[in-house]
Structure formats: C-alpha cells, structure tokens
Amino acid sequence: MTTPDDTIHQPVRLRIMAALTALPARADGIDFSRLKKLTGATDGNLGAHIDTLVRARYVAVAKTFVGRRPRTTVVSTADGRRAFAAHVAFLRSVIDRSAE
C-alpha cells in the first residue's frame, strides 16, 4: 500500500510537479512565466510553492539572464520524479480500492 505525499498533494504543487514531470528527464525545465500560466498561480504564490518543493529536493531552480532579462527555470529532480510517481500510484490505488 502506497501513501500520499503531503508535499505534492497541495493543488498548486501537484500542478507544478505534473507539468515538470511531463517533460523528458533531460529537458531544460519550464520557465517561471510558463509555469505560472500552466498552474494559474500568482507570482508570489507560485514562488512560495516552488520554495517548498526546493526544500523537499523535488525541484531545482536555475536563474539565468536572456540578454538583460532575468529568467528563472524550474526543473524536476530524480527524487521529485520518484515522489510524484509514487503519489500518482497512491491516487490510483485509492480509486482502484473504491471500485472493488
């Protein structure tokens, strides 16, 4: 029996992890503005949830410059991918149990 991941199950963090793990592991990640659009979160809210995921070592953040403009890119870590897969497995087990 798997267990839920308390860090991931929060709705905004769930969307962040769903978006990041939809990319191949070798991909460059998703930049902050695109992530904001995908999750529907505000700047501050998204930043806070990313910090939580960074502390859990589920995502890593890279800050670069494109010309003069700063660019923040978020990428899922191997731990994050494993935790997300385990959380999805838990959700499916809950659904399967209710169908039995």
């Binding site: 839920p4 199950h9 969307r15």
Partner: protein, 184 residues
C-alpha cells in the same frame, strides 16, 4: 488528506489536464520554430523571384531543400533532448503527397502562369495547414485560412507588387503566426 476516490480522481484529472497542456505547448513551440523557418524561406523565395524572375524555379528548389534539411535538423535536435517524436512517418509522406499533387498540376495538368502558380502553391500548403489543424490545434486552422485569404487578395489586388506582397503576406504571415504560437 486524500481519503476518498472522488478526491483522488479529481487529482488524477488535474494531472492529466496539466500534462496535456504541457504536451500541446511543447508541440506548439517546436511547430512555431518550423513555421517561422518556412516563413523566412517563403519570404526570401518570393523576394528573389521578384528580383530574378528567370531563375525563380531554381531558387525555389534550392530554398525548399534548405527548408526540408533545417526542419529535419530541428526535429532531430528535439529528439536528442529526450522529447517524444512530435511528427511520425506520416508527416514526410503527407508533404510528399502535397508536393506530388502540386507538381502534377504545376507541370502536367494545369495551365498556370507564374502568378497563378505562386498562388496555387501558397494556397495548397495553407489548405494543408488548415486541415492538419483539425487534429493538431486551432492555431493551424487560423494560420491556414488567414494566410490563404491574404494570398488570394494579393492575387486580385496587388498588381505589379504581387511577389513583394506575397513575401509579406505569405512569408510574413507564417513568421507572425509562428511568433503567436510561441505565446499560446
């Protein structure tokens, strides 16, 4: 805490919705680069045809080869970075069918002048974009119908500036559509 199947189903549905959006967005990003590339190829081809009308045939063959090679290189680059194949074997086959159909009418069945030939090829491929858009996404339908409409207006109203306007409407239209798709 997740304790019931309804909540779990809602989270799974949320995950699937976000993943679909990411996949669509990735596809649009790759496709947008290809659309911009062909916009530049088209604009250069039309401007060159205006400047050197006698060499237009050779210019277009050269530009089309460059476009196909660059498109293949972009696809391979994305595959190398781990992205799933955005286009399968049907895409080059579809292009070959379109080219074959176009050649059949251009050099065989049709009695086109240079101007009609330019409009024919432009609208033929825009028709392809519009039909593909029914499966790939609304942006392609808008692009195909919009550019085909502009090219048709160009045919009737541009007069001696036909090739220049074609570069602007067809080439520029593709570039503008590609930039718009990057924001979608």
């Amino acid at each position: 805490m997740i304790s019931d199947a309804q909540h779990a189903s809602a989270q799974i549905a949320e995950i699937e919705a976000v993943r679909r959006a990411v996949r669509q967005s990735n596809f649009y990003r790759l496709a947008s680069v290809i659309v911009i590339l062909w916009g530049v190829v088209t604009a250069v081809g039309n401007l060159a045809s205006h400047a050197w009308p006698r060499s237009a045939g050779s210019i277009w063959i050269g530009l089309d080869i460059i476009g196909v090679l660059a498109t293949s290189a972009l696809g391979l680059n994305m595959r190398g970075r781990g992205y799933p194949r955005a286009f399968d074997w049907r895409t080059p086959v579809a292009f070959a069918l379109f080219f074959g159909f176009g050649l059949l009418w251009s050099v065989g069945l049709g009695r086109f002048g240079p101007r009609e030939l330019s409009v024919f090829w432009s609208t033929l491929f825009m028709f392809g974009y519009a039909v593909a858009g029914l499966w790939l996404g609304a942006a392609f339908v808008v692009l195909g119908v919009g550019v085909a409409g502009l090219v048709t207006l160009d045919y009737f109203f541009a007069g001696p500036w036909f090739d220049i306007y074609l570069a602007l409407f067809n080439g520029g239209g593709l570039v503008a559509a590609g930039l718009w798709m990057r924001r979608a």
